[in-house]
Symmetry: C2
Subunit: 315 residues, 2 copies
Amino acid sequence: VSGLEAPLGPGREFDLIRSLVRQWGPLASGIGDDAAVLGIGAGEQLVVSTDTSVEDVHFRRGWLTPREIGYRAAAAAVSDLAAMAARPVGMVIAMSLPETWRGDVLEIGAGIGECSEQTSIPIVGGDMSKSHELSITLTVLGGAIRPLRRNGARPGDLVYVTGRLGGPQRALEAWLAGDTPRSRDRERFARPVPRVREAMWLAEHGATAAIDISDGLVSDLAHIAAASNVDVGIDLERLPLVDGASSRQAVASGEEYELAITAPHALDTAEFERQFGIPLTSIGQVAASQTQPRFLAREGGTFVDLSGGYDHFSS
Amino acid sequence: VSGLEAPLGPGREFDLIRSLVRQWGPLASGIGDDAAVLGIGAGEQLVVSTDTSVEDVHFRRGWLTPREIGYRAAAAAVSDLAAMAARPVGMVIAMSLPETWRGDVLEIGAGIGECSEQTSIPIVGGDMSKSHELSITLTVLGGAIRPLRRNGARPGDLVYVTGRLGGPQRALEAWLAGDTPRSRDRERFARPVPRVREAMWLAEHGATAAIDISDGLVSDLAHIAAASNVDVGIDLERLPLVDGASSRQAVASGEEYELAITAPHALDTAEFERQFGIPLTSIGQVAASQTQPRFLAREGGTFVDLSGGYDHFSS
C-alpha cells in the first residue's frame, strides 16, 4: 500500500484524508488499513508518547496560522521522543475538526508535514472526526536501545539546558496583554524545534536523565527531582535567555521544547554548539534529597524552593 | 517505574492522572516519563492505530454511562488491532475534558480499564488536557508476525462475518426517535467486544483480508473491495442478525466491531462457534473486478451496487 495511492473507500472523510496523503507525498506511508505496520530495529525498545493540542487551551486561532498550529502540535509530540533520546519511527494523527476549520485542513496538514520532514518521522496513520473545537492528538513512536528517562539523575550530576529560554513566555504575555509579540519571541512559540539529534548526542555523551521543557523549567525539573528522588538546584543567573527575557520569564516559560538534562561530568558545550548551532548551558547541580525531592532556584545568595509548578488544570 | 507509584510532579492534572493510575493498578505500567517504553517480540512487526471518540459525534451523554463511554472508546481502538490479527501490546490515552466531566474521570478510566483487562492490553501512557467537549483518543499498539490487511482478498475467496449484526443500528434508531432501545441492542452499542482472539484464529486458519465493522458492513466491505481491487458480493438473506433486526439494519449498522474477513476455502464455523461462543457466518464471495472495485448486495434474485457508504462527515 503506497501513501500516494491510499486505497480508501468513498466519502467526504476519505476525500479529506486522500488530499492530505497526496500533499504529504513520500512523508506518508502505509495509510489506508485498519492500522499501520512498522518495523522496529533489532535490540531497540519501542518508545511511545501521545500529545493533544486543543484550540483555546494550547493556542488561539488569532495567534497562529493553521500551518503553525499543525507544525507546533507535531513538534510538541516529537519533542517527547527527543526527551527519551529515541529515534523517530512514525506518527499517527487524530484530528477533530469543526466545520469552521474545514478549509484549513490542508494547511494544518502541511505544518505537520514540515515537522515530519524536519525530524524524519513518517506519517503512518490517523483518524479524522467531526467536533466542535479543533483538537489534534499526535501519537509518536520511536526506537531506542537505551531510552533516556527522568529517573536517572544522581547526586553530584550537573544540570544542563539546550537553547535559550523565555521566548514562548514573552510571546504569551504579549498576546494576553493584547499586544503583538516581537517576532523572535513569536517564532519561539510558533516554531519550536524538537531536539532529536541533540538528545542522541547528549545520551551518547553520558546524560543520565532528560525531560523536554513543555510545562516550564520549574515544573519540568521538579519532575526530574521527583522521579530521581533527588534535589535539583539551579542558578537563575546562569540561565541562557532569549534577548530581552528575565530569568523569571525563563523559568516559567512553557512550550519551549528545549531539553533539560543531567550528566555526571562536564560536557563539551563548545562542541555541542558547533554541531547544533544552539548553546548547551550548565545551570545547576543535583544533590541528595534530605526529606522529599525538591526543586530549588538560587537568586542572589539564597535558594528558593520552587517545587510547585504550572499545569494546564491550575489556571 | 511502577504504575502504582508513578513519580509525577505536583499539580491538578497530575493528581487526576495519579488517581487513574492508582485505580488501574496492575493494568497500568511505566506511566510518568516523557514517553512509555515497550518491548516488541522478535520477528514481530509493530501495528499501530489511533481512534477518537467525541461527545455528540460518536455518542451522547444521555445514552451511555461514563464507564461505558470509556470502555467503548477503548474497545473501538483495540478492535483495529483485531482487524490486523495483532497481539495487543499497549495503549496510550489522550483525554480532553471539560469542567462538566471532571467528576466522571475515574468512571471513564474504569471503563477503559475494563477493556484493558478484557483484551490484555496494558495502559502505558497518556495526556490529559482541558477542553470544551469530551474527547478521548486512544492509540493502540500491537505486534504481529503477519498482519492481516485489507488488500489480500482474491477472486473466489469466501466472505465471513463474526457475531450478529444490527444491534447498534437498532439502538441508534431508538435513541434518535426519542425511545429507549431494547437492552440487548443497547448492550451491543455500549459494550462492543473487540474480536482479538477470534482474529488470531481466523488468521491462523487462512484468512486473506480483514476489517472491523466500524462504519457498517456496506462501507467496510467496500474498503476491502477497493484495497484488494476486487468485487465483493454478499447475500443479504444470509446475514447473521440480532433478534429483531432487518438485513437493511444489519448492513447499515456501524460501531459493530465485529470482523468481516475473506478466506480462500470454507472455514470450520462450528469449531469457531464452539471456541468463541459467537457465530462465524459465510455471507458471500469475492469476484474479479470488471471495471472498478464494487460492493454488491443480493436481495431476492438481484445484485444491487452499494459501493457508496456512510461516513462521519456525510451527515
